[in-house]
């Protein structure tokens, strides 16, 4: 079973036999892999009808639910890890969602497309148009991505809300981690992956 690079990194971060929640699980690729390879117990959460069916086809427990309605049906600290993969930018209340995830899980894994990427900056700053990239292919008028942010923005959000970043990986447009991304992540990173938890009080 081969996973997309960003999902493979998430999979590495998840300990075997843990219990997880994958928000916006799509067709359940990550969970299928984790259940098969790491004996992980997990649920997917997905709103889109076809994806719910696809996840069921893979044998993934999937709960059809709108993340914008919150996570109140999931009890405090009821899973080890909550994953939100490339979905934060499409949520109506990203900050609330992130805090809700930290309520439900001991740890969260969040990934998002970085708007600070040089290609996006070039399109907005020089060409004067809203950026479209591989990770953000939609035009401004039909995009589901309503809360775009940069790596710097996300880390500011974490700092302001008592969220500790335990691990970060930044991938370039070919979904690789190179010296350039590591040196200037906010300029050369197209997708950012974070592993966070609430700062111990």
């Amino acid at each position: 079973m081969k996973l997309r690079q960003d999902l493979a990194i998430i999979a590495e971060w998840i300990p075997p036999q843990s219990r997880i929640l994958d928000l916006g699980c799509g067709e359940g690729e990550l969970l299928a892999y984790l259940r098969a390879e790491k004996d992980v117990q997990g649920y997917g959460v997905e709103i889109e009808e076809d994806r719910v069916v696809a996840a069921i086809r893979r044998g993934i427990p999937v709960i059809q639910q709108d993340l914008d309605q919150g996570l109140k049906n999931f009890a405090d600290q009821s899973v080890d890890t909550v994953v939100l993969s490339l979905t934060l930018q499409a949520s109506t209340y990203p900050r609330q969602l992130l805090l809700e995830m930290l309520r439900v899980g001991r740890e969260v894994i969040v990934t998002f497309p970085n708007m600070g990427h040089w290609h996006a900056r070039w399109q907005l700053g020089v060409l004067g148009k809203m950026p479209t990239t591989d990770a953000l292919p939609h035009t401004w008028y039909d995009t589901p991505n309503i809360h775009l942010c940069t790596i710097r923005d996300f880390e500011q959000l974490c700092a302001d809300n008592g969220i500790a970043i335990h691990q970060r990986v930044v991938l370039n447009e070919r979904r690789r981690s190179t010296w350039r991304n590591r040196l200037l992540p906010n300029l050369f990173g197209e997708v950012a992956l974070y592993r966070c938890a609430l700062v111990a009080r």
């Binding site: 009808e49 719910v52 069916v53 709960i63």
Partner: protein, 383 residues
Amino acid sequence: MPAQIPADSVGLVTPQTVTFPADLQLECGRSLPGYTLVYESYGALNKDHSNAILLCHALSGDHHAAGYHHMDDRKPGWWEHLLGPGKAMDTEQFFFVCANFIGSCKGSTGPASINPETGSPWGLDFPMVTVRDWVKTQADLADHLEIEQWAAVIGGSLGGMQVMQWSMDYPDRLRNAVVIAAAPKLTAQNIAFNEVCRQAIMTDPDFHNGRYYAHDTKPRRGLSLARMIGHITYLSDDAMRTKFGRDTRGGKAFSFGFDVDFEVESYLRYQGSSFVERFDANSYLYITKALDYFDPASAYGGNLAEAFARVQAAFLVVSFSSDWRFSPERSREIVQALYTCNRDVSYAEIEATHGHDSFLMPIPQYVAVLSTYLQRVAEEIGL
């Protein structure tokens, strides 16, 4: 009448009857001196009896889930849209069993059956039966059919309640539980509707305290009214608007009287009067009480997750957006409880306009979810 049976129907079916002579101890504390179940089956049971699926029917349903009894039947079984060769519930893969529950009036022992002690119909002397009792009788049927473990138990509405009870009472006897348009217990509003229906029946002068059989009559007006009320709650506002709007019967002008003016009135009267011909009023009383009493969490201080703690089955829970009698919110409670106790559960909330009755309809997303889930079940048991 089908001029010819459609290729995707199970075709002509013959109900079977089985009698269990031993005393049946009931939840209410009383017992039945033996009982009879009438059931139907569709598809073929495989060699190791691993492909059997139990279907649980709802209030006004019965054992006749699919196909036809005679070539001149006007209508097929109640789940015809979803059950048959190549359908969401595929009779080419699975062996389906559907039994009429006791207390009903379609052939299984109920208030219209003869009480062996008196030689006359039970009427209201029939003991109160519950969802739990039904599940017990279905387990007897499973033993009779030599089915150790169901590949799945599936039910909609009151049928979904039986599915949940199965998973709690016989955790190792079902691999999958499919709970459709159900609730972990009825709300006060829901019980209220049932009570109005019961009052309609019991205050009918022809009710004779349930002994109307001896008077060669039945509480037609009461039962018909009960059905009309029930029917309104099974449909959505939207569905009624689309189906009838304010259309008058035959496009006629208002009569300025109290006879039928609107199509919706005509439809409800028809539903009411045809129901009287096919359903026993006492059964309606007993079954609505079983609905009201169902609340497996009550034995655990209202904690549904604890009620599910021993469950082994994987669950599929389905609800419909326009269903206000068994709303998606109630299904979400089931899902939440199963999540809390670490059971595998999938949940689909289907966009549908037909209200509670949606669970009987071939809505594409519903069909996709159900057939995909059962396909997965088939793969898991190696069919």
